[in-house]
């Protein structure tokens, strides 16, 4: 006999009007939501996006089908909220363009050079790499950014990503390939500019 999911009991209670019980779910899955959000969103906005995620989950709690674990459902909402954040803020958030600041990019050779396998970890500051990461992703369209993050950085399946973006499989596959090519072109140009 299948063991009843304890989350379902809490969800029923919340739907019956016990709002406080939702905090039990918040506390249980907060780490997961913050983990997914912090990877994608600038530090200053992580709390807001995480809060927005829980609000969305709360609003659509009655649509939770209970066929999948609550955590998976919540993860999809988190990823969608992050995608929406970039769709909304793509034009507003500005990051320093490393190409404009070539003096500070000597470490690029260290990172990409053949001789330095793991040496960059010792010599290059994480902040610099993070800055380059943000700059590169910023160059992509919001949806391309989400695709690169989910498929190539996190290794999620196409099926999962298609569900998050609410796209068909073939569209997701084609767009993912294009997004990766675009990112590679950006990195190629950057490396060419440095050499």
């Amino acid at each position: 006999m299948a063991v009843p999911d304890p989350d379902h009991k809490i969800i029923n209670s919340v739907l019956n009007g016990n709002v406080d019980d939702f905090i039990v779910l918040v506390n249980k899955y907060r780490t997961r939501v913050f983990f997914l959000t912090a990877k994608r969103i600038p530090v200053n906005d992580v709390e807001d996006v995480a809060q927005e995620t829980f609000i969305r989950a709360f609003k659509s709690l009655d649509t939770f089908s209970r066929q999948k674990p609550f955590e998976n459902w919540l993860s999809i909402i988190t990823l969608r909220t992050c995608c929406d954040y970039w769709r909304k803020n793509a034009r507003q958030k500005e990051f320093t363009a490393p190409a404009d600041d070539s003096g500070n990019l000597k470490w690029l050779e260290l990172v990409a050079g053949r001789s330095a396998s793991d040496e960059y970890r010792k010599n290059v500051r994480n902040e610099d790499i993070r800055e380059l990461l943000n700059w590169t992703l910023k160059k992509l369209q919001p949806d391309d950014r989400s695709l690169v993050e989910m498929i190539y950085f996190e290794g999620r399946s196409l099926k999962e990503v298609a569900e998050v973006l609410d796209w068909g499989m073939s569209k997701t596959k084609v767009r993912a390939m294009r997004a990766r090519s675009k990112m590679r072109r950006i990195l190629d140009k950057l490396l060419e500019a440095q050499s």
């Binding site: 739907l15 918040v26 912090a38 609000i55 053949r114 190539y152």
Partner: protein, 100 residues
């Protein structure tokens, strides 16, 4: 697309950086703010709104069906009236004679 080893290496470094999550210190008010926002929403209110919409839809359907039934009844009634007045044989000459 042709892969450049340098680009690939850089891509791997960026992937590592993406997956190395910075530590986030959640502010003390975060949960309280969330709770306050949740209280303003209340999913059971949303459910109630859904139920209200269902009732509204039911009433509209009922009204439309009732109106259709009345129109149909009137139509049948008028047709029945016409049939008693009209020439039962459908003879055009008889009908014309009646007009005279």
């Amino acid at each position: 697309m042709k892969k450049s080893p340098k680009t690939e290496k850089l891509e791997n470094v960026l992937r590592d950086s993406f997956n190395a999550v910075p530590e986030i210190a959640v502010s003390r008010n975060w949960q309280q703010e969330l709770l306050e926002r949740l209280y303003q929403l209340k999913p059971f209110q949303i459910q109630a709104k859904f139920e209200r919409n269902v009732w509204r839809f039911s009433w509209i359907s009922f009204t439309v069906s009732a109106a259709a039934a009345i129109i149909l009844a009137l139509y049948i009634y008028t047709q029945a009236g016409n049939n008693t007045d009209a020439d039962p044989d459908g003879n055009i000459y008889t009908s014309l004679a009646m007009l005279d």
